[in-house]
């Protein structure tokens, strides 16, 4: 409480830039196992902005720096230079508690040491909003129930997390993130272990949730077509560099994607007016 108030003050240069909620400004990062050696991995100055209700897809091949960028946005890593603002506050200088009240992160998978029921898992999302040793209030329970309902998983409430399918689990994990009532929702390859129906289902939910709750969503993905279908903005990354930022129609150009993904492909305009990529195999 007092610590979060302090963090709010420490957030300083509150330069509210138009209506952007998330503002990534010239962010760079270098990772090296040993400080005396040359960095093994670098992220060069990257900038983009996102508004409430917008979905940003960070797209790129393996080792392009997608996940690093997401970790920087989540506050788990501190940038080497530049800054990332959420509603004008520097993210990585917030306390973990304040961050968790504003940012929810959905990771690739969530491994539990001891079995838990889905509702217990979703209630974990309320942790940052409740005081130490406080038992969950009726409000927390209502929020958790709503979160499960929002992702269409109300019927999973009493199921055990280790006895549900991958797609169902991913929805419960998303529900926990919604229970955090965040401003910013970050997802790291959420579709990785899902079949196609579950992938479409998940991204469809995301689209709806972002519109309904005015979340800003940042999602890291390999899936060119899902990103094209559901993202408002695409951040295209290659080898630690941010190549382009823009709406899918502007980014999805054959030469550019072929060069980034190192594979021949075609780009056509789909029925929805969004680009569609077909990878040409065997050449």
């Amino acid at each position: 409480m007092s610590s979060s108030a302090l963090a709010r003050n420490a957030g300083e240069p509150a330069r509210s830039n138009s209506d952007a909620r998330l503002s990534v400004e010239q962010v760079s990062y270098a990772y090296s196992a040993n400080p005396s050696q040359a960095p093994l991995f670098t992220l060069e100055a990257t900038s983009f902005q996102a508004k409430p209700g917008e979905i940003v897809a960070i797209l790129g091949p393996n080792a392009s720096g997608k996940s690093t960028l997401l970790k920087l946005i989540s506050g788990a890593l501190a940038p080497l230079s530049g800054r990332i603002l959420l509603n004008g506050f520097v993210i990585h200088s917030l306390t973990p508690r304040t961050r968790a009240q504003r940012i929810a992160v959905v990771q690739q998978e969530s491994r539990l040491l001891f079995p838990a029921q889905a509702w217990e898992f979703v209630l974990q999302g309320r942790h940052a909003h409740s005081r130490t040793l406080r038992f969950e209030s009726d409000d927390d329970v209502i929020i958790a129930k709503n979160a499960l309902a929002q992702v269409g998983a109300a019927d999973l409430s009493d199921r055990w997390m280790d006895q549900i399918s991958g797609g169902e689990k991913q929805r419960v994990i998303l529900a926990r993130a919604l229970a955090q009532q965040p401003l910013l929702l970050l997802l790291d390859e959420p579709t990785l272990h899902l079949d196609i129906a579950a992938q479409v289902d998940l991204l469809h939910s995301l689209r709806r949730l972002a519109a309904e709750n005015r979340y800003t969503v940042v999602v890291v993905t390999h899936e060119l077509n899902l990103a094209a279908e559901y993202a408002d903005q695409v951040v295209l990354m290659q080898r630690g560099r941010c190549l382009r930022v823009g709406p899918p129609a502007a980014i999805y150009q054959r030469e550019l994607l072929e060069q980034v993904f190192q594979t021949p492909l075609t780009v056509a305009l789909g029925s929805s007016g969004r680009p569609h990529v077909t990878v040409l195999s065997g050449t």
Partner: protein, 346 residues
């Protein structure tokens, strides 16, 4: 959806308190000198009515000066070890972590023995020198858990198998040191080798020691309890816990220090009693679930019940001689450990 309420927590603890009471009464009754329940009830009543002079001196002495202090000791030691085990399991994300398996108990033993050896050479007041043993045990425990934590890491991540191996190796190394110390030093004050290696509750202490143990337990366990919801989230991993709002470095520091202190506390008065911190949390998790707000108080009570019960067995099975209580807990704990290990790897 049935979130935890204070009421439910209270009833769960109440049941365990009643069981602990029954086990304690049984423990008072059984022993080399049999005591009838009737005589016990009569004497308790007389004691409560202030008619202490009417209590038969022989019974009175055995009950109040031998068995009751021993039961008190068993309660505090059992609760401390069980809470320490639960904490280590959550922090290290390893269901097999336990003060004994990780070598923390052995580290505490070495610390306590060194403190006992050093005491005569330091001119301290009696009260201060009584505190020196638990402090030595605490430092030994803290040093060991730090060492095992770093040995158990691979590429910056705690690796479950490496951690257990590091613990087992550390424990056997420290046992060698204990054996060496006990064989070379002939001080009447250092208790026996079996005491430190297997655990034993037969030593009786001054009244002030029991106060120190009791207060120490409540302070350390209380500190751990303030992190109960954080520990729930830590089960899913440190990164995930951080994203859900847990101040991971702070929780880690508080819980490591408090859990090492509890281990040191228990070991300094009872030696290294094996597997209590492993068996009890697992049983309690099966009954009450893995929410640490329930788990911590129920394991404390469960640990107390388990050690009082095991000590009663240790006193009576081969009466009039006595087993080490650690031998009794190991007979139950070791097979469980193997079962959990095999279940975990398959």
């Amino acid at each position: 959806m049935r979130p935890l309420t204070l009421r439910r927590l209270f009833f769960q603890c109440l049941i365990l308190v009643l069981i602990l009471f029954v086990v304690a009464v049984v423990a008072i009754k059984f022993g080399a000198v049999p005591v009838s329940l009737y005589a016990l009830g009569r004497d308790v009543l007389r004691y409560l009515l202030g008619q202490t002079s009417q209590i038969s001196t022989e019974y009175g002495f055995i009950l109040w000066n031998i068995r009751l202090p021993r039961i008190l000791l068993a309660i505090i030691v059992g609760a401390s070890l069980a809470v320490a085990g639960t904490s280590f399991q959550a922090l290290l994300r390893n269901p097999l972590a336990d003060p004994y398996v990780l070598g923390v108990s052995s580290g505490a033993s070495v610390g306590a023995i060194l403190a006992l050896i050093a005491t005569p050479y330091l001119s301290l007041s009696p009260a201060l020198s009584a505190l020196l043993t638990p402090m030595g045990a605490f430092l030994g425990a803290a040093a060991t858990i730090s060492a095992v934590y770093f040995l158990g890491r691979r590429e910056g991540q705690i690796d479950s198998t490496t951690l257990l191996l590091a613990g087992v190796i550390t424990a056997s190394f420290l046992s060698a040191i204990i054996t060496f110390l006990m064989s070379t030093i002939t001080s009447s004050n250092t208790r026996g080798m079996a005491f430190w290696l297997l655990g034993n509750l037969s030593t009786s202490y001054q009244k002030s020691v029991y106060w120190f143990l009791g207060i120490g337990f409540f302070v350390a366990a209380g500190a751990i309890y303030t992190t109960a919801t954080d520990l729930n989230l830590l089960l899913a991993g440190e990164k995930e816990a951080m994203h859900l709002g847990v101040d991971v470095p702070r929780v880690r520091l508080v819980v490591y220090i408090a859990a090492s202190f509890l281990t040191g506390l228990a070991v300094s008065v009872s030696g290294a009693i094996a597997y209590v911190g492993l068996i009890v949390p697992h049983v309690m998790r099966l009954i009450f679930g893995s929410d640490h707000r329930t788990l911590l108080p129920t394991t404390a009570l469960g640990g107390a019940i388990a050690v009082v019960f095991a000590d009663t067995l240790a006193r009576t099975v081969v009466a009039p001689t006595e087993l080490a209580v650690g031998a009794v807990t190991a007979v139950v704990g070791a097979p469980l450990f193997i079962y959990l290990l095999r279940r975990g790897t398959s």
